[in-house]
């Protein structure tokens, strides 16, 4: 995980197409420029980055379900709750489940846990749009492979 580069997922450990779920793991880095400001002397992962982490896990789920044909873009976050602090070095498990697949959009329910304790959860909505370019599509596939996710049926 590299917070400053928005690389929030270290690996996809389980992707269940039939169950429409995904489980990912990451480890919060010990150091990051983000912690210099949030907060000086009391480093914590910002809630907005936890939401981004849930969005990325949900995004890989949506990509897998549409066979990487279209790109999910975060469009809305509902009922997001930050339940506890997430310090440097914490191992996290990010899970997402598809709640609804609509026409041109999907809704997921996602959560993050650390050592069995719920850190945050929320409902996320994504627009499903054509990839802006072939390069973008290839980059997302390569990233998914790097994380351990199969990208073809």
């Amino acid at each position: 995980m590299r917070l400053e580069y928005f690389e929030m997922i270290d690996r996809v450990v389980a992707y269940d197409e039939a169950g429409r779920t995904i489980r990912c793991e990451s480890k919060i880095p010990q150091t990051s420029p983000v912690f210099e400001g949030h907060f000086p002397g009391h480093p914590l992962v910002p809630g907005v980055l936890l939401i981004e982490t849930m969005a990325q896990a949900s995004g890989y789920l949506a990509l897998g379900l549409n066979q990487f044909a279209k790109m999910p873009f975060l469009a809305g976050v509902r009922e997001a709750k930050m339940r506890t602090f997430t310090p440097p070095g914490a191992p996290i498990v990010v899970s997402a489940t598809l709640e609804h697949e609509g026409s041109g959009y999907v809704v997921t329910r996602a959560q993050i846990e650390t050592e069995g304790k719920r850190v945050c959860d929320g409902e996320l909505m994504f627009r499903i749009l054509p990839f802006p370019s072939e390069e973008f599509s290839a980059m997302m596939r390569a990233q998914a492979v790097r994380l351990g996710m199969q990208t073809s049926p």
Partner: protein, 94 residues
């Protein structure tokens, strides 16, 4: 509750529009000024309430290709008819 009333309630709550301003002849874009993001929320609420999948992508394509007019799907009276058809089709499919 009629389909129109249910949809109007959803729009009023989701888009913060006075319920009295929402009429069967209202165009969701021109009259109610609902943007695409709010309409996404409306679509989700309709999908959820009626157990259907509004084919908004197909409708948008048909409008883009000149096969349909915006008002065919995005005037509330017509949207309600489309919802009722989708609900009936779902029932028929079992």
């Amino acid at each position: 509750m009629s389909t129109f009333d249910a949809v109007a309630d959803i729009i009023a709550e989701t888009c913060n529009i006075e319920r009295d301003k929402i009429k069967p002849e209202s165009n969701v874009i021109d009259d109610l000024n609902i943007d695409s993001l709010d309409f996404l929320d409306v679509t989700f609420a309709i999908d959820h309430k009626f157990g259907i999948k509004l084919p908004v992508e197909r409708w948008t394509e048909e409008i883009g290709e000149g096969k349909a007019k915006v008002e065919d799907y995005f005037v509330l009276g017509n949207l309600v008819v489309a919802i009722d058809r989708l609900v009936e089709a779902k029932k028929a499919a079992g």
